[in-house]
């Protein structure tokens, strides 16, 4: 019907010749053809998304190259570190945070464990919780590096989790005591404080600097606080003691403290709350930890995380300060009218008078963490930027060399052509990967890190131009004989500007396609080099060297997130670029589509 209408029907309006025989510029034809290719368009969109993410992402997720965190090693992907179980809400008695998991007890004496609880391939501290009969009614809990302690109302101490260093074996002298008032779990070590002021410890005493003798001050103690690998104590007289033997910065307790109300410890520093509500900090504290806040009113509670501290004033206001690398000091605005604060590690829990629990700090790792406790997600973002930068600059270098050599060789011909052709032949007969490896390792041996990265770009660029040069030469040879070149020659245009201003723009389509495909292969080569350990060196991440330490059955099987995510990103990125390149070639030269 429509066919008949079109043939014989009355037209709406007379079209003028320009509309009827609409001409399209070549560029618009290319764009139209390209957009019609769904695969290529999809590839372009995905690539642009990845590109923008790795370009902008690192601004919000800057990387600390010296980062190393032994409590956060090989954490599986997940964001459940701050997910307080429902049973605990509104009924909290106490919460304690260990390395990657938290343990809580409610007013009925029931124990809850949440967070990244599968700390090794065999030990899951959430599944190992002892039965109700064994636990009894729990009144206090404490989470350590890889184990959990609980104290029930009969004064019995129960441990579960890792027991590799004996931190789970409660000694006889402790199980005989009925007046235990405080328990604390540390780095493979357990502590218990009795009502008479005596501290007991069991576990890895080689790693931890603890000496518990009467002479050393182990008597009359009111509170203990666990630092990374040592123990600080507050006596009933308000005096701070270091219960270890080694001379360290944290052991160097200031002498003019006066009477101390409360203490709290981070990994390597100790904070004391004095009589007048001011605070003093000593030890190996970083700058932000030393930046003590002005607290209004009395400090009623204070605890230390790994590199931050949180305090509660009697007006119900919460203060957090210290390192904010994992957002652990960003107190939410709804944390007012707080009655109790708990936490440790990188997590904070504040219980409001309404019973609601407000949480802030490290939620978890979106893509897991690696063998040094670094966030895989942030390494992928930063590594992607590095991989793409190296790929892009290498392509720019190789394209420029390729255009100049191909253009000159094609246009001038003669002996110039012969010499340049031999040069192309030589470079293309250098074995690519071995050559890049030997160049980066011999030349780059004594270079600083930044110069080494520049070297990789140059090596990749200098080794990968021959194919483009050949393409350009062939195209220039074809274009050279066309009329417009003859015309330009007749008008006396300089030969160099004929090549680069008249001929090269006509072969630009070939160059663009080739550069796109080269970009993919340069990214691949860079990541291959980094994978083998000849490219960008750790700790600076690229997608290639993130896979470097992953070729072992343990990592492949148990810590799959360490290789799966970088591998997927790299593969998707290269696939998309190749699709875009293919699509561009088809769009620019529709004839090639018939192949």
């Amino acid at each position: 019907m429509s066919m008949l209408k079109r043939l014989f029907g009355k037209r709406d309006a007379e079209l003028d010749i320009m509309q009827e025989e609409a001409l399209q510029s070549p560029l618009r034809t290319v764009i139209k053809n390209f957009l019609e290719n769904r695969l290529a368009t999809g590839g372009l969109i995905v690539f642009l998304l990845i590109f923008l993410t790795v370009l902008i992402g690192p601004l919000f997720n800057p990387i600390d190259l010296s980062e190393k965190e032994e409590t956060q090693i090989n954490v599986a992907p997940g964001m459940k570190m701050l997910q307080v179980p429902d049973g605990l809400k509104g009924n909290v008695k106490q919460i304690s945070t260990g390395s990657t998991f938290s343990v809580g007890v409610d007013n009925d004496g029931k124990v809850y464990v949440w967070g990244h609880t599968k700390i090794t391939s065999k030990i899951d501290v959430a599944k190992l919780i002892p039965s109700k009969e064994e636990l009894g009614k729990v009144v206090a809990v404490s989470a350590g590096f890889d184990h959990i302690m609980a104290l029930n109302e009969d004064g019995k101490v129960i441990c579960w989790g890792s027991d590799r260093m004996g931190q789970g074996k409660v000694p006889m002298e402790v199980s005989k005591k009925k007046d235990i008032v405080q328990i604390a779990a540390g780095y493979q070590i357990s502590y218990a404080l009795t009502g008479s002021g005596e501290v007991f410890c069991w576990g890895n005493e080689n790693l931890n600097d603890v000496r518990l003798t009467k002479r050393n001050g182990n008597s009359n103690i009111a509170k203990i606080s666990v630092a990374n690998t040592t123990l600080m104590a507050l006596t009933k007289d308000g005096e701070v003691r270091h219960l270890g033997s080694q001379k360290s910065e944290i052991a160097n307790v200031p002498e003019d403290l006066g009477t101390v109300k409360d203490i709290a410890t981070t990994a390597d520093a100790c904070v004391a709350v004095l009589e007048d509500n001011s605070m003093r900090i000593w030890g190996k504290a970083n700058k932000s930890e030393r930046d003590l806040p002005e607290v209004e009113g009395n400090i009623v509670s204070i605890f230390g995380g790994r590199y931050h501290l949180t305090a509660l004033s009697d007006s119900g206001k919460v203060y957090s300060w210290g390192s904010n690398a994992k957002h652990q000091t960003e107190v939410p605005s709804k944390a007012s009218g707080v009655t109790a604060i708990y936490g440790g590690g990188y997590q904070n829990y504040a219980v409001k008078d309404s019973g609601e629990i407000v949480t802030w700090g490290l939620k978890g790792y979106l893509l897991g963490s690696d063998e040094l406790g670094r966030d895989v997600f942030s390494r992928i973002l930063n590594g992607g930027r590095m991989t793409m930068t190296i790929g892009a600059i290498a392509v720019i270098i190789s394209t420029i060399i390729g255009i100049i050599i191909g253009g000159v060789s094609g246009f001038f011909g003669g002996w110039v052509d012969i010499v340049l052709q031999r040069l192309t032949e030589i470079v293309s007969s250098l074995p690519f990967l071995p050559m890049a490896m030997i160049l980066t390792s011999i030349i780059g041996n004594n270079l600083p890190e930044d110069a080494k990265i520049a070297l990789i770009m140059i090596v990749l660029g200098v080794l990968s131009w021959p194919s483009l040069a050949r393409l350009v030469r062939a195209q220039v040879l074809a274009e050279r004989e066309k009329e417009f070149v003859t015309a330009a020659n007749a008008m006396g245009v300089k030969r160099s500007s004929i090549v680069f201003k008249h001929i090269i723009p006509n072969v630009i389509s070939v160059i663009i396609v080739s550069a796109t495909l080269d970009f993919a292969s340069c990214m691949l080569t860079e990541s291959t080099l980094s994978f083998l350990g000849f490219g960008v060196k750790l700790p600076r991440p690229t997608w290639g060297n993130m896979l470097n330490g992953c070729v072992s059955s343990v990592v492949i099987q148990n810590y799959w997130w360490r290789w799966v995510f970088p591998a997927i990103m790299l593969s998707i990125c290269v696939i998309c670029i190749n699709m875009v390149g293919d699509g561009l070639r088809d769009a620019i030269d529709p004839k090639s589509n018939e192949r």
Binding site: S429, I438, F531, V574
Partner: protein
């Protein structure tokens, strides 16, 4: 051809001379402290003399080249042996792996490429096209990791790495089977890694050949489709496929550096890797030279094979 070899060798020589460290000092390092400074100095001078470090550059180049051509590839400081004695067995291993991988890849890609070319733009062809883009985009080490995960860790069919079972004592057929069991996964990974690119190339060559007028003539003559495709079109497509095969053999030769590294195979690529990693530059340069020679020879073979496959291209026609 020979000229190219010499230019490449000059590049290698310049690299060789830029190797960090004093080679003469390395040789006499063990004497330091044991003898008096004077004798040490004399030994050092002798070592410099012996290595010819004080000669002018061109003479050193000629000497180095002469040594190279006589098969004296230098001394491996890592293995404490002459390089030539160390690289024999790895060389054989690498060649075996590569030949297997190339043959396997050809057996799969040639029929697949031809099929796709004949049925181009069919659903099957489009699927294969997308898969081949994926195939040549994913680097071989990622394929290796995935395959180790699937076939070694999850299914337990193949060992994860190595060349033989530990403490393996069997001989004859048993030994061969054990070796095959260990080499199976690397060969599969290498094959899969080269499928994408090769299939695309065979398909493109075949489509070009099928567009020719003589194909129409052959069809018009009423020849069977099989004869048209395999005898007329394929014979003509073979010309560019030959280049591909040799080029590909080369590139997986280089690519086996990665595979050997992942699977800890005792091959030439692994030797190269350990050489570079342990600053054993004599070893690395010898293998590098070998790679260059292999590349050049394969270029030569490509040129010669044109003449064999295609009577139209003959040198000195």
């Amino acid at each position: 051809m020979v000229g190219v070899f010499f230019v490449v060798s000059i590049i290698m020589f310049i690299l060789f001379n830029n190797v960090p460290g004093d080679r003469a000092l390395n040789q006499v390092q063990s004497l330091r402290g044991k003898v008096s400074d004077e004798i040490f100095q004399r030994h050092y001078e002798e070592a410099r003399e012996r290595l010819g470090l004080d000669d002018p550059i061109p003479i050193r180049y000629v000497k180095w080249m002469g040594n190279l051509l006589q098969g004296n590839l230098g001394y491996s400081t890592f293995y404490k042996k002459d390089v030539i004695k160390v690289i024999g067995q790895p060389m054989v291993n690498t060649i075996i792996i590569n030949i297997f991988a190339t043959i396997l890849a050809l057996v799969i890609t040639i029929p697949l490429g031809i099929h796709c070319a004949v049925k181009k733009f069919s659903k099957f062809d489009n699927t294969v096209q997308v898969l081949t883009i994926v195939g040549y985009s994913v680097p071989s080490y990622i394929i290796g990791l995935v395959f180790i995960f699937l076939f070694s860790v999850k299914l337990g069919w193949f060992p994860i790495s190595g060349m033989n079972s530990p403490n393996f004592q069997g001989a004859g057929l048993e030994a061969v089977l054990d070796r095959m069991h260990y080499l199976a996964l690397p060969v599969i990974v290498m094959t899969v890694a080269s499928l994408g690119g090769m299939t695309r190339y065979v398909r493109a060559a075949m489509i070009d050949a099928l567009r020719m007028d003589y194909i129409r003539t052959a069809r018009a003559k009423g020849l069977k489709e099989k004869v048209v495709i395999y005898s007329h079109a394929w014979r003509n497509a073979l010309l560019s496929v030959i280049t591909l095969i040799i080029g590909w053999f080369m590139s997986i030769f280089m690519g086996s550096i990665i595979i050997e590294q992942i699977f800890q195979l005792n091959g030439i690529g692994k030797m190269y890797y350990t050489g570079l990693m342990n600053q054993d530059y004599d070893m690395a340069l010898a293998i590098q030279m070998l790679y260059c020679v292999i590349t050049l020879i394969s270029n030569l073979i490509t040129d010669l094979s044109y003449g064999i496959v295609d009577p139209r291209v003959r040198i000195n026609k």
